[in-house]
């Protein structure tokens, strides 16, 4: 008689860790490419800082927000993005795997397809992303005049994790679409561009209709703008009920779990290029 399966096992995580170590070593094979990948992550994020600095020095604040508070939006968004790139970012390139038929191989291996996708390679650029993001967060917290109590810091950490999950949820939705329409990759690039461009600023600077679009049609406002608004005392001026803005991290978690269910359903309906 076989013994019942334990409800939790460390074995899959050991496998994940071993594959990640191998992936990291394989990235080290091309040293200059490895260093440049770190650089590209950093440079990309520095562009956000440069743009934000230019705007804040040329214009009298943004939508009634102090510069330190705007920096906090950028820091939350960037840190959430860096963690997304590190842990869940490979979902971004799914359509390429579909086009090259790699996904068909994933289907016959004894590991969930989503996990295999995430273990495809080590995201070296995340090192650069996270380094700059951590620097920006330290800068934003140093300039902030808020009293950083244990409660506030805990909420900040939860918000960063929620932002990571929300970003992962958005890209997982696009990946689900890519299982049927590989050209959906185009939307993925646009989504990345939108998050990078408008995810770091107070959205009340935009007209209400546009802000509404970036809140309810594409929930970009929940990644960093609403959490930062709650933390800095702008929570009542965001155009949505305070409780909704405050529940942003929860929305991220729920959205991610929802999109994982959507992923399972989409994968069952995947037919591949050969029918």
């Amino acid at each position: 008689m076989s013994s019942p399966k334990p409800w939790f096992s460390l074995k899959p995580w050991r496998t994940v860790w071993r594959i990640t170590k191998l992936n990291f070593r394989s990235q080290l094979e091309y040293r200059s490419e490895f260093l440049m990948m770190i650089a590209i992550g950093a440079i990309w994020q520095v562009s956000v800082i440069v743009f934000a600095t230019v705007l804040l020095t040329r214009f009298a604040g943004m939508g009634g927000w102090e510069s330190a508070d705007v920096l906090l939006i950028a820091a939350i968004r960037m840190l959430a993005h860096g963690l997304f790139v590190l842990f869940l970012g490979r979902v971004h390139g799914l359509s390429r795997h579909i086009q090259e038929g790699v996904i068909d191989t994933y289907l016959v291996r004894p590991m969930p397809v989503y996990r295999q996708l995430q273990l495809q390679y080590f995201p070296t650029n995340a090192i650069g992303d996270l380094t700059v993001a951590a620097g920006l967060m330290v800068g934003a917290l140093t300039r902030s005049e808020l009293d950083w109590t244990a409660g506030r810091i805990t909420y900040l950490i939860i918000c960063v994790l929620g932002g990571m999950l929300l970003e992962a949820a958005l890209f997982t939705v696009v990946a689900c679409a890519a299982l049927r329409f590989p050209a959906a990759d185009y939307w993925s690039r646009w989504l990345e561009e939108l998050l990078g461009t408008f995810g770091s600023y107070p959205l009340n600077v935009l007209p209400k209709a546009v802000g509404g679009f970036l809140t309810f049609a594409l929930p970009l406002a929940f990644v960093a703008y609403f959490p930062a608004a709650v933390l800095t005392g702008h929570g009542h001026d965001t155009g949505v009920p305070y409780w909704l803005a405050a529940a942003s991290p929860l929305l991220g978690a729920v959205a991610y779990l929802g999109t994982r269910l959507l992923w399972r359903w989409s994968l069952r309906h995947y037919t591949g290029v050969n029918g």
Partner: protein, 268 residues
């Protein structure tokens, strides 16, 4: 086959791929429209409590930013889906076929880029007409400004072609060059004024960009259009753009020759 027909066939490869993919075209249309609305809204919002800054008033800044979004359409075709980027050909080893055709690879590359740029330009023109009709974009102040802008835009696209070619040519010399390409594309966007007009940046940044070719691609024509560069200074700016065309043409020509020596057919 007559050379004109051959050229036409090479030039239409990417636009035909787009025309046969209606979902991609719809996506491009939606993306362009949303991006224009967002960018115009952002700059109007920023100018809500500010008059003129860095020599640009609200209408000039909005016009500049929207035209920059439209201009990025000119070279934004999805070659990757068509598996016809130099990077992919190097990865799969199919670059060798570029050297087995009766059409030299450098001419094929140039013709394809020309087709892409004309197709992208058609998108930009339609977007421009809609934006002018909607009052989002100002019209040029005079016929002379419009004329100088057109010449500068043409030279800018020519410089952009060589920059993109140089980025692609890198693939011939490095086994893995994704990061280098991303860095160069980023530099192109930042230093040409796609993210924000260069006038808003610190003086040292403007001086630095003056020594590089990127500002010749977009910042110069758009600054001429909105009047941030006066007509009296246009001659010098056009001359600098033309100089970059010559320098980059010579450089990329040399690299094509060196690249050809590195391509090895399967089996040696």
């Amino acid at each position: 086959m007559p050379s004109a027909l051959r050229a036409w066939r090479a030039a239409r490869v990417t636009p035909l791929g787009e025309l046969h993919t209606p979902p991609r075209m719809t996506a491009a249309l939606v993306r362009l429209a949303v991006q224009v609305v967002l960018v115009a809204s952002l700059w109007r919002g920023l100018y809500a409590a500010t008059g003129t800054t860095a020599g640009l008033d609200r209408e000039q800044a909005v016009t500049y930013a929207v035209l920059a979004v439209l201009a990025t359409r000119v070279r934004e075709l999805d070659q990757y889906s068509g598996r016809d980027t130099v990077l992919q050909h190097m990865h799969f080893g199919t670059i060798v076929y570029w050297y087995l055709r009766p059409l030299p690879p450098q001419r094929y590359y140039a013709l394809r880029a020309l087709g892409e740029q004309i197709y992208g330009f058609a998108w930009a023109i339609v977007g421009y007409a809609v934006c002018v009709a909607a009052g989002v974009v100002q019209q040029p102040k005079s016929a002379a400004v419009a004329g100088v802008f057109m010449v500068s835009l043409l030279l800018g696209q020519w410089v952009l072609y060589y920059i993109m070619l140089a980025i692609d040519q890198l693939c011939f010399f490095t086994l893995r060059n994704g990061a280098a390409m991303l860095i160069l594309i980023f530099a192109q966007n930042l230093l040409s004024g796609v993210y924000a007009p260069l006038w808003f940046f610190p003086d040292w940044f403007i001086t630095l960009s003056g020594f590089l070719p990127f500002q010749a691609t977009l910042s110069v024509p758009l600054s001429l259009y909105v009047g941030r560069i006066e007509l009296s200074d246009a001659g010098a700016q056009l001359a600098i753009q033309a100089a970059w065309v010559v320098v980059l043409a010579l450089l990329t020509r040399l690299v094509w020759r060196r690249a050809a020596r590195r391509v090895i057919s399967q089996g040696g």
